[in-house]
Symmetry: C2
Subunit: 389 residues, 2 copies
DNA sequence: GTGAAAGCGCTAACAA
DNA sequence: TTGTTAGCGCTTTCAC
């Protein structure tokens, strides 16, 4: 039972290099203001001793942690039924790693965890937070926003979007202090529906997602944007509420066929819903895409590719969303200000990747008036054409 | 631009409660040995000031971090094409949270990251590591094992299993210092194949996974266990190597039909592979399960449920695997020893969940002789019967 | 440019 | 039982 070898300290390195602790510290942290021969000796000593700075000691004085929390609120199992968060995490991780930041993962299991998360975030353990919340009435984003931690949201938060009977009386669209990254749900939906129109379809239905999620609302809005211009397009019977699941898609599709047997195209809120619709259509003897064209959303692999027929769908660059979230947060942090959010630096973000397309200013039109808020960054979507439409 | 309000320190709480810092510290850390009236006053002060301990300062002296790293080596995209890690993470997170530990997520992108991860782990930033490695020749597990951090592996590490021309000359089966959690791949495979036998099938084929992963090897071994007892069962043509993907499943299935047109059952290494097989079978005019029965592995939703026909498959409790990994690590940690692994406490682990079934001692039989190593915990699998077999 | 010294906020002996 | 005291390993003025 030998004692675990304690790792070398600054002191040890200093002794070895024959300099003071301060000098070693300088070299370790960039080496400005240390003459070359000395610096080299220090680097030698560091290498020989295998010195690694003690992060705790460093944080204690700098008050920085080089760590970012990723909060994933998980009100439902669906969250983990698709690779969405995994991809997002990957993007975040890459960006964080590139900036020598650690990723602290906070998964919540219902409301009991909210207090825990809020406490952790305001406890000053991390420099910032990346938060995913799915539901309009989720109190977590509000709690976090109030915790005074620099935060970037994944997906447009929906606080009080529609008058918000349940949520805080605050709207993302009206609170410029909120920074978020989302994909162009509305634009993607528009592209999908336009494609169906171009295909000559006229009785185009929409199976919605869970409408307490902004992504579902935005996709519905995009559908309406196009349908409003199609003669007879705003037939309310063509919109059936569903829930992002295959079973829900089946249910909705059955109801749709009941209401509108003449439907000739379906835009489903996501690929899973489309899958259910596909099955009901087949069972009803309809051919896809000949009789009814179908388009999904997400390009969730392998679902979309392996569907029968393979699904035409709207792809979003999920990994890039994650990467961008991290980038925005880090930029806000290195800004050195004491603002509680990262939006100050929004305009200085890397534009070289050309991600902020013409649709970058899209918002749910319902309540938005005046110039759009500057807090959101919207990534473009792409229509992936396969066999179903 | 007001300064960010600095959070209250122990000192402040002590002053407010009219006691010494030490007393506050005691109360905050469990409160043993502090008389009730005093303790109450301290708790008051803590609440009023909203005091949260500074983790950095605490770690600096205790050398503990209450943080665990989760390392996910990601040699291929497949990793994120299924909810496997997400579920695992959920289990880990729950257990860690229950013990007030933080989860630091380390995602690796190929070998360049190995050094980074190893450095981080030996840098003493976390108390332990939970590591997922998929490939037999992955050097990462070895590096981490050598880093001197208490570690539990997710999935049986395969170091040098088969003589290991590439990997370190070390075998998990021979190194009792290695702790891992896996599902009963071999037993699950046996159950699947036995089920097919019970169904009266005799020409039972196996489409393997990527054979440099222990899970694939173990499933193949399980298949062989049963087939060795079936007359004519060890026809090598019945085993086709595949790669855990739908496309690979298609390829393998086509080759299988070429080799053995009389096949009447297929055990696929996972659900995705089964999906591909299903498609080829259908295209070839065979009915499932009437002509050819099909069984998958993983019970990956929605793939298995939404397959046509819905897939009979072997389910593993992925979340429980994660939970158990964390539990083992934490137990090893609280052991207070300075051993570099967690296996010392293996025998003291919670047995109340009754997870260590009769198959808990299963190993790849190839090189294993003598008593099985004590380092692994194997969770049971369940055969989920649906329509395909 | 380099070193000496003063803490960051906390825990853990040790005294009282 | 409670308080006093000495650091944990590092960064950062401030002299030199």
């Amino acid at each position: 039972m030998t004692e675990a070898v304690s790792r070398p300290t600054l002191e040890a390195v200093a002794a070895r290099a024959g300099v003071s602790r301060a000098t070693v510290s300088r070299v370790v942290n960039g080496g400005d203001g240390v003459r070359e021969p000395l610096a080299e000796r220090v680097r030698q000593a560091v290498a020989e001793l295998g010195y690694v700075p003690n992060q705790a000691a460093r944080s204690l004085v700098t008050k920085r942690h080089d760590a970012v929390a990723v909060v994933i609120a998980e009100p439902e199992t669906r969250v983990f039924a698709d690779p969405f968060f995994a991809l997002q995490l990957r993007g975040i991780s890459k960006e964080l790693t590139a900036h020598d930041n650690q990723l602290v993962l906070l998964l919540t299991e219902g409301r009991d965890d909210h207090a825990r998360v809020a406490r952790y975030l305001s406890g000053g353990h991390v420099d910032g937070a990346l938060v995913f919340s799915l539901h309009l009435d989720d109190p977590l984003p509000g709690l976090i926003h109030d915790a005074g931690v620099p935060t970037v949201f994944g997906g447009r938060p929906g606080w009080g979007d529609d008058g918000g009977a349940t949520g805080p009386a605050r709207s993302a669209a009206k609170d410029p202090g909120v920074v978020y990254v989302d994909c162009d749900n509305r634009g993607g939906a528009r592209a999908a529906v336009r494609h169906l129109v171009d295909l000559g379809r006229r009785r185009i239905a929409h199976l919605t997602g869970v409408l307490d999620q902004t992504s579902a609302v935005d996709r519905l809005d995009g559908y309406r944007d196009v349908m409003d211009e199609v003669p007879g397009g705003n037939d309310p019977r063509l919109v059936v509420e569903s829930d992002f699941t295959p079973a829900g898609g089946e249910r909705a599709m059955r109801e749709l066929l009941d209401r509108c047997p003449d439907v000739d195209a379906v835009f489903a809120a996501n690929d899973l819903t489309a899958l259910g619709a596909l099955r009901v259509l087949r069972a009803s003897g309809r051919r896809v895409p000949e009789d009814v064209a179908v388009i999904g959303f997400d390009d969730m692999l392998p679902v979309a590719e392996e569907a029968d027929p393979p699904l035409t769908t709207v792809r979003q660059d999920i990994e890039e969303m994650g990467r961008l979230m991290a980038r925005l947060l880090l930029h806000g942090l290195s800004d050195g200000r004491d603002r509680t959010d990262a939006r100050d630096r929004l305009d200085a973000r890397d534009r070289k990747d050309g991600r902020d397309g013409a649709d970058g200013r899209d918002r749910t039109g319902a309540t938005a008036d005046g110039p759009p808020p500057a807090g959101g960054v919207i990534l473009p979507t792409t229509l992936i054409r396969r066999a179903s439409a």
